[in-house]
Each structure stands twice: as structure tokens, then as C-alpha cells.
Symmetry: C2
Subunit: 141 residues, 2 copies
Amino acid sequence: MEQRVSLITLGVADVARSRAFYEALGWTASTLGDGSVAFFQCGGMILSLFARADLAGDAGLPAEGDGFRATALAYNTRSHDEVDTVLADMIAAGATLVKPAQEAFWGGYAGYAADLDGHLWEIAWNPGFAIAEDGSVQLPE
Amino acid sequence: MEQRVSLITLGVADVARSRAFYEALGWTASTLGDGSVAFFQCGGMILSLFARADLAGDAGLPAEGDGFRATALAYNTRSHDEVDTVLADMIAAGATLVKPAQEAFWGGYAGYAADLDGHLWEIAWNPGFAIAEDGSVQLPE
């Protein structure tokens, strides 16, 4: 197994509504898909939105679930102050503020928001992780 | 907000144990971190493992949660038969088979496994999504 992730799929209540949320943040969905799924090319990886019940059904699992999902996505900003801008943009698009940005013990600045379906995003400025021109993030050597 | 994801963090019961699981699949963790976190460079993105309670605590959320997490990661294989190989390797490393691989209605071949902490992975051969030499996946135009 190569060291890579091809897709992150987020189960959502309403694909069109969640797609519009990410589009409001400036993202562009692929024209691929019949409306039952939305794909966003994110560098060499894809973020997809799929009905929660369909995702559970595809895996043959019950769709019921509550509470903490033990999963968080992170968006690393290019500057300290951009954390506040991104969080504000997310809230304006309908996200819920989970934790206001604050200086972090590891030397960065970060806060959390949840998207329309409760998927957790950490918005973080981490001066130790380089962000390339193309948006890719590299661990220090 | 640029169209990208910097990190996926999976909350786990035991970081060392989960790190060993991914290393058993052939992955190499970064030397970064004091043992309370493990980082895997995945192309231009990072997969990290962090104690479930610490992840919840960082976001200021209760750590309790049950059932379907409405999230799946996917690993796209380079061939049809590689799906079975990867699923078998995951099971051998301690993962749980959730759905045996089968031909999919969308023309591919896919199955699901859950890692040591129940994080869902779809292992899929999707002839419509190109995989580059470096492992990056691109949506068709």
C-alpha cells in the first residue's frame, strides 16, 4: 500500500446544499457526477460529498451515529491572520464556530469550525509546516 | 479559502499502536512529534494520528461518539486485483473487513475495511480516475 490517500468522502444530509457551502468558500466542483455526489479536486487528492445514508449503505453499515467523529480535517493558512479570515468566511457560509482561534502551545494559531453537517475543520497557521505555491503542505525533514 | 486540505487527523485510542498499523502497511512516519502524535506525508497532504481524547479536547468538544462517522477515506489502486491485495494486507495488519470487494455499479471494483479505531477506508479500483506515477489522483476533465 503506497503512502497516500486518494479521496476523503464526507457524508452529508443534502449534497447540493453542502456543495453550495464549499462553493461559497471559493471552491469549484467538478462537472462529474449526477448530483448525487460532488467532487472537489484538492491538489493530488479529491474531497467528495455524498449522502450520509448512501455512504453508509455503500459500506453496508447502519447510517446512525452520534457525537464526536474522531476525525478532523485541517486547512493550513499562509499567515497568522488568515486564520481569522477563513473562519469568518466559513461562518458566513453557514458553518458553526466550534473554537475561536487562539495562540497554540505548539507555536501556531488555530481555531475550529464545523461545516453544515458537523464535519470538523481546524483552521491553522503552523509556521513549522511549509506551504508550497500550489498549496501542498510538507512536513519538515 | 484555497481549494485544498492540509491534514486529515484520525483520533485513535493508542497513537503508537495505530502508527504501527500504518507502518505495517508500508508507510513511514515522520520523525516529527514526541509520540503523542504521528505524521505521515501523503503527497502534498498529511495524515496524522492523535489521541481521540486529545483531538476532542483540542477542539473543546466532548470525546464521546458512537456509530457511523459519516466519513470515509479512499485508497485508489492501480489495478483491479490490487484491491484484494490491499484489503488482505490491511486485515493482516489488524484491520476489520467491513465489505468484501465487489464489482461496483459505477464500473469499478471496491471494498471497505476499518482500521484499528474504526476509521473507514474504501479500497477501490476506479478506471475513470487517473493515478499519476507519484500517486496523485486526478478527476477526469
